[in-house]
């Protein structure tokens, strides 16, 4: 019966992938963002670097990187005051995404279990009082 969680997770992953594909195609529909991906394919770069290379304001570049990031095509990491961007989505991340969704299913399940246990505890307390008196 552990398979229930796997099934549900699989279902969520399908939805997740569809959402991600939508996000990816939106991200890829823009020439600047495709250029950013090409650039990051050569080497990681900070948002400032990218803004300079594409002759764009920091704010503008941040927006583009945000769209790429939401699509999972780019990951960013802030070290000190510099945010470095690199190409995202590798095999290990897929496993992490699966585990994350599997965990969500278990969270939902255990939250319900908490409720059931809480109710049994209350019942036991009332019954216990009755028996003792």
């Amino acid at each position: 019966m552990h398979g229930v969680a796997s099934c549900v997770t699989l279902n969520r992953m399908v939805q997740y992938t569809q959402a991600r594909l939508d996000a990816s195609f939106t991200a890829l529909s823009d020439a600047t963002r495709r250029g950013v991906l090409e650039q990051l394919g050569r080497s990681d770069a900070s948002i400032t670097d990218l803004a300079e290379k594409f002759d764009m304001s920091l704010t503008g570049m941040k927006k583009h990187v945000g769209i790429l990031e939401r699509a999972g095509l780019v990951t960013t990491e802030k070290v000190g005051r510099v945010r470095t961007c690199k190409l995202g989505m590798h095999r290990f991340e897929k496993e992490a995404a699966w585990l994350e969704r599997y965990q969500q299913v278990w969270n939902a399940r255990f939250d319900e279990l908490d409720r059931v246990v809480e109710e049994l505890k209350r019942k036991e307390k009332i019954d216990g009082h009755k028996r003792r008196r």
Binding site: L10, N11, S24, E38, G41, R70, Q104, R109, E112
Partner: protein
């Protein structure tokens, strides 16, 4: 188009942890606010079990739930999902009240995983550890998304790779 519909459920107070412990093992842990005796009961009595094993939010309807919790006893859960029925079944191979439950998962064509649940009580709370041992690495990965989803995501990887990798 707004594609941010991939809403994450809000985090809960006691988070469960999921860990791929080895190529063949998945382990889920969570602390439940109650003594082991009560938590065990919620696993062993079908009328309680059915209330939480299939939380409303996961979009499955549980049609029936039969649990015969004793060594050699069987269980069978039937769900309906998008118009089709799915059954999950197996056998309890170890039952130690308030402390341990082990069951097989026999619904697949091949050898299934063995699930061991242990209940450890401390200060009125119970740490529940659910350990799934699969017969092989492939079986574990096939049970998850890692099989079915790979193809689509790989294609996307490839597409991005042709963009990003074209310069190298």
């Amino acid at each position: 188009m707004d594609t941010r519909g991939d809403a994450e459920p809000t985090p809960t107070k006691n988070r469960s942890t999921v860990e791929r412990k080895s190529e063949r093992e998945l382990v889920v842990k969570r602390t439940i606010e109650g003594p082991a005796r009560i938590v065990f009961e919620a696993f062993a009595r079908p009328e309680l079990f059915r209330r939480w094993w299939v939380p409303k939010s996961i979009g499955l309807t549980l049609l029936s739930c039969e649990l015969d919790v004793r060594v050699g006893g069987t269980y069978r859960l039937v769900f309906s999902h998008e118009g089709s029925e799915m059954a999950f079944f197996g056998r309890y191979i170890d039952v130690i009240p308030n402390s341990r439950l082990v069951w097989t998962n026999d619904e697949g064509d091949d050898e299934g995983a063995v699930t061991t649940v242990s209940f450890e009580e401390m200060d009125g709370k119970t740490l529940v550890v659910i350990h799934d041992l699969y017969p092989s690495k492939e079986a574990l990965e096939a049970s998850g998304s890692m099989g079915a989803m790979d193809e689509t995501l790989d294609q996307l990887d490839e597409l991005v790779g042709t963009l990003g990798g074209s310069a190298s």
